[in-house]
């Protein structure tokens, strides 16, 4: 492929990656931002969302969109409820102690993976997209008769991938609206800024924590349902989203929603564009180091306040 179309394809793919990343990370951004605990099991909530989507989609006959829509509603609710339960049974009792939370959520990760392995199985399974049309894209070429459009080999995207970008925008705007325009969002932000002060003002901090934990998990599950048609459900799929979400959240600046979006764009696009110029694994290494260096030279993250 020529350079121009190749670059355009890489940018498009980078945008899809960025959408996937911001969708995945927004739940963690909330949990980490408000509660300041490292939830190692967050990726497993993502995995549960994808696995539930497979189940629900399989339970519905008829058009693929029916089961998908059902999954879009049911999976986040189910996973969110599960997370609230985990919060009440475990995290609340250990007082959200940062170190004990790491151990407890590693335990939770083992439990969720094993239960999924025993019930869902070890196979990777696909979920059909509600719609998926290949869209060939044109490219401009300067011929003798001036600019002319043509359709390069392989330059294309699918309608569902575009929909994922749209969904990411919608979800992020939704979360932003909840955080800034509703009472519950205000309460969450107050708790994030100063837990003790919030407590003093009569905010039921523990209930807010349970809510945030559930909401964060539900967002992870929602992201998974949206993403699973372009990947697949597998019981070990939670690891990468967890790490990538952490990276996005920290690079963006803890608790900053715009930061999360910009970081996702930075990571997604650099991953795509660098892959044009280098062999794949070398590109991966360079992209990883580049993003790490952003943090080295801007430790508070892109949109973080200095000295957290």
């Amino acid at each position: 492929m020529e350079f121009g179309p190749h670059l355009m394809l890489a940018v498009l793919e980078g945008a899809v990656t960025a959408a996937v990343l911001s969708l995945t990370a927004v739940g963690l951004s909330l949990v980490f931002g408000v509660m300041r605990v490292v939830n190692v099991a967050h990726g497993e909530f993502f995995m549960l969302g994808a696995v539930l989507a497979w189940w629900i989609a399989g339970a519905f006959g008829g058009h693929a969109a029916l089961g998908f829509l059902a999954a879009l509603v049911v999976a986040p609710l189910a996973v969110g409820a599960m997370a609230v339960l985990a919060d009440i049974v475990i995290l609340k009792r250990i007082g959200y102690d940062p170190e004990r939370t790491i151990v407890a959520t590693i335990g939770l990760l083992y439990i969720l993976q094993q239960v999924t392995l025993m019930s869902y199985g070890p196979e990777a399974r696909p979920v059909a997209a509600p719609f998926n049309t290949r869209l060939a894209l044109p490219w401009v070429e300067w011929g003798e008769a001036g600019p002319a459009l043509y359709w390069p080999w392989g330059l294309s995207i699918t309608s569902y991938k575009l929909a994922v970008i749209g969904a990411a925008v919608a979800v992020l705007v939704g979360v932003w609206a909840v955080m800034t325009r509703t009472r519950i969002g205000l309460v969450m932000r107050a708790t994030q800024l100063d837990r003790d002060m919030a407590l003093a003002f009569g905010i039921p901090v523990e209930r807010v924590y349970a809510l945030v934990f559930g909401f964060g998990a539900a967002l992870a599950a929602l992201a998974a349902v949206l993403i699973v048609p372009i990947s697949q459900a597998h019981y070990l799929m939670g690891g990468d989203p967890l790490l990538l979400s952490f990276i996005v959240v920290i690079i963006g600046g803890l608790g900053s929603l715009p930061g999360t979006v910009v970081a996702a764009l930075l990571i997604g696009l650099s991953d795509g564009v660098i892959s044009v110029f280098f062999s794949p694994t070398l590109a991966k290494i360079l992209a990883t180091l580049l993003v790490a260096l952003v943090l080295v030279f801007r430790p508070q993250g892109l949109f973080g306040a200095r000295a957290a």
Partner: protein, 313 residues
Amino acid sequence: MSRAHPVALHLGFLAVLFALGFVLPDYHHGNLARVMVLATYAIGYNLAFGYAGLLSLGHAMFFAAGMYGMGLAIRLFGADPALAMLAGLVAGLVLSLVVGALALRTAGVAFMIVTLMFAQAVYLTILLAGEWTRGDEGFVIQAAERVVLGVDLTGAMARYFAALGVFAVGLLAALRLVTHPFGKALVAIRENEERTRMLGYDTQRLKLGALAVSGTLSALAGAAYGLLFGYAGASFAGVQYSILPLLWVLLGGAGTAIGPFVGTLFMFYLIDLASGVTTAYMLIAGVVLVLLTLFAPQGIVGGARRLFPGWFP
């Protein structure tokens, strides 16, 4: 009950391990050798995490630096294994200094993420250099290449006591550190970095020193693990081997010298015994971890230290 001197107590512990080398049944004999090497890794991790408060999620890169520094020296250059061990240590030291120089510009969660990403880059580099490393598959360090100073490390006894030697180095280094001003300054950084700096300490340099010692000790464990068990592979550089030492340390009790060993031993036998009971052993392991956090908040040794103050530095 009279109070035992910490050093005496730990020397006694090493003596018990020494004696166990002669009486344990074969299977547990082999397991303990593994646990001692891995516990050295956990001790190395604990020096950064438990003492200096540096929560790294990338220590597998130091473990791997030791393993590959040693393994590649033998595989590519036919180095003498003692020299190869040294190469592993140097690799760990250099890597930890480079990573420290960059990553220590950050703190807290940013440090966690930066170390995670550097470790990911190291892991991918091992794959990229597949021509020499054989990537994920790894390579065997042949029996003939594992004779150190006339001692054949493929024998069970030699392996056990070599592992004990490595562990003793780690344990005594950790003990020495807590009584040394350097170690005390690290604890001060952990508790309040601002105040420590105002007291005139160069906290950046102290933290770099802590990370270098920690990384080198992790590399020692990695090199020893490769040499004792005859294999080097990229899975040891994966993110789970960065999380494991954190888990071991937290289970045993952070900031104690003996906690990392207890945590490593506990986790090893938790998996080993649970897998004998059911194929769903991860479920058991998960439930046990959750219960431990609920009922042993300071880790296993942390709990014991509360019961017997002064015994466990």
